[in-house]
Subunit: 383 residues, 2 copies
């Protein structure tokens, strides 16, 4: 039996590249590990048993470079044929890190797609420039807050949204834990909050956007997004770790929606935790969020309730904004227990092109929500 | 402004429970950490600012028990109101582990839902009993293999499928890296492989099932699953980490499909790697796969190409088969570089109710695929 068909396996020769950090005893061991990755991520088959030279030459990944990365680690660049990813984000993620995600001592540090392949992804529909245009805010970081705490009725959340919009917040999102709970049904919440923000906008003349959470069961995501659009919501909050990176891509690609998307790291953020495994912060919050069409990526800034380091936050900034073919740069959204007292520091760290997300701290003190929101705006706008 | 609505917040009092392993300096620190989780996973709001006693009492999680787990770790049991999860798998996962996934030193060890809530999940449509019934194999582990390597044409893969089915394999799945590549288009592969297995079944009188991979872009999953059903495929392979746990649940719940589902751990398996963070093996491969409707969960058995320990594999076995309301027990599928020489050991470890998955090793040696598959059957069936 002819086990392969040479005609069918005539690939373009175009390659995408991935950089992995490998922990190993020495360079030789790192190289062996890298060669294992080349097999594991493609044929998943013992090298000696591959039934065709064409597959060995065209499908199996190839080690392109190996450089010492200090303290028992090596960075290896591996090239894969673009055809192995098909034209699917799901399979691209699988090719880059599907099986090796289960192996300790290997971390995906970065990846790069050739222009022809990148062109297959629309990416962020708005990005930094587009979102600034929607809001007509160009000279300072954008300001975001979350409707919370869980347990409030739709009516109470709408009352908060109204005050926050009056106070000058640019983006008011649902807390990501608000979905469709009996004490706060999704359609009622979306309707009331969208109306409240619109009412405030009529009074202020500003363009505050309400972004409901449409992280939902598979068959329900599109319905909620359309309901949000119909109700006048200005964008969407989505947790790709809970409902799928490609489900976010589908929302971003939907021309009938054409709404900016804020990505939230619930659940998936755990893949960046260990420095010796998982995904780099740049890959998770920058590369993957952009490929999946997010216009902004929420992550925990260092020194809040989470454990990311300054270096990791800089890595996220780079991933959100560096060159990636024609894909738009997106806003980094440092969050996770940020407070008004840190606004200047955040602005200095990320520059003007970031979204500052402050939740609970807007509710602190005695000055009231509107006044405190105004102070947030003033702090963010002052140099 | 009345910040909450007491009428709307009259919850049932029913609680689900989660057990977290917390790394801490001492018991006091562990308790503080546990109390933080109670807030983080629900209101995500500073305790002092919660605007209502009703929310504090009914929404915020509560620490139920704290026990030492050895070497600087404590196991804490936290109770959450069932209403906080709504009736959605996406939000249940978020409630259990959304934000804390981003914090080191906290691992979700197990969770338990009250019967009323479990009844909202159909879970595995077949499970161990149902899948055995489909195959009419009751007295030995089921045998599975994967069509590979990537790079073969649909025709070549179908030729392999035919031989493997003749050799007596019960379940023939696509390799999870086979999606819709130009060298092996999905519809052609599904059609040819389903036909090849059916042809072999006519010759053998057996009921081998072909399970194509339907891990795909969000809008394409259901189409591929229906195409698979129409072509005569007997089940589905799905990677919940790549395309969403709830997307697997939607496939399992689809009465028009009613096909057994084999879950593959690509990408999501990374969340179980660190003993100090992420998800326990029991939660990932047992609890979540069953809630999401998988009939079998593939994972790397210890001693293969991956790093799971014996204890972790036992934890998976428990999660797949222990009591979980009316949800069917499912097959553990130890895999990841298994070889014929380990069949007896695997059978001793997992008992009869497992699926043995051997890929590359069926292609080794000189005896030929059919003969080697027959030897696999003989090894698995002998006591």
């Amino acid at each position: 039996m002819p086990i392969d068909d040479p005609v069918a396996l005539s690939l373009s020769g175009e390659r995408l590249t991935a950089i992995y950090r490998i922990r190993a005893a020495d360079e030789g061991a790192a190289l062996l590990r890298a060669q294992d990755i080349c097999l594991e991520q493609t044929v998943e088959f013992p090298a000696a048993l591959i039934p065709s030279e064409l597959i060995r030459a065209q499908i199996v990944g190839s080690v392109d470079a190996l450089t010492a990365a200090g303290s028992g680690a090596w960075d290896v660049r591996i090239r894969y044929p673009v055809e192995a990813a098909g034209a699917e984000l799901t399979q691209l993620v699988n090719l880059l890190f599907g099986n090796v995600a289960l192996q300790p001592g290997v971390r995906l540090m970065d990846f790069s797609l050739p222009d022809g392949m990148l062109a297959g992804f629309r990416g962020p529909r708005f990005g930094i420039t587009g979102l600034r245009g929607l809001l007509a805010v160009h000279d300072r970081p954008l300001l975001c807050t979350a409707l919370k705490p869980m347990g409030l009725s739709a009516q109470a959340l709408a009352a908060l949204a109204y005050e926050l919009a009056l106070g000058g917040i640019d983006l008011i999102k649902d807390d990501h834990g608000l979905t469709d709970q009996p004490f706060c049904p999704v359609d009622e919440r979306i309707g009331r909050c969208a109306e409240a923000v619109e009412r405030a906008n009529r009074e202020t003349g500003r363009r505050c956007l309400y972004l409901p959470n449409v992280t939902a069961p598979a068959g329900e995501i599109a319905r909620r997004a359309r309901a949000a659009k119909a109700a006048g919501a200005g964008g969407l909050l989505f947790c790709p770790g809970l409902a799928g990176l490609d489900a976010m891509r589908a929302l971003a690609d939907d021309a009938g929606l054409a709404m900016p998307i804020l990505g939230h790291p619930a659940f998936i953020g755990g893949l960046a935790l260990s420095p010796d495994a998982g995904l780099s912060h740049k890959v998770l919050y920058g590369r993957l969020h952009r490929l999946a069409g997010a216009d902004a990526a929420i992550f925990p800034h260092h020194g809040g309730r989470f454990a990311y380091s300054e270096a990791e936050c800089r890595d996220i900034l780079a991933g959100c904004t560096d060159a990636m073919g024609e894909l738009a740069p997106i806003f980094p959204v440092p969050a996770g227990g940020m407070q008004l007292g840190r606004v200047r520091e955040l602005r200095a760290f990320y520059g003007r092109d970031c979204i500052l997300l402050i939740g609970g701290d807007l509710h602190a003190g005695d000055e009231g929500l509107i006044a405190r929101a105004r102070r947030f705006v003033a702090l963010a706008g002052s140099d």
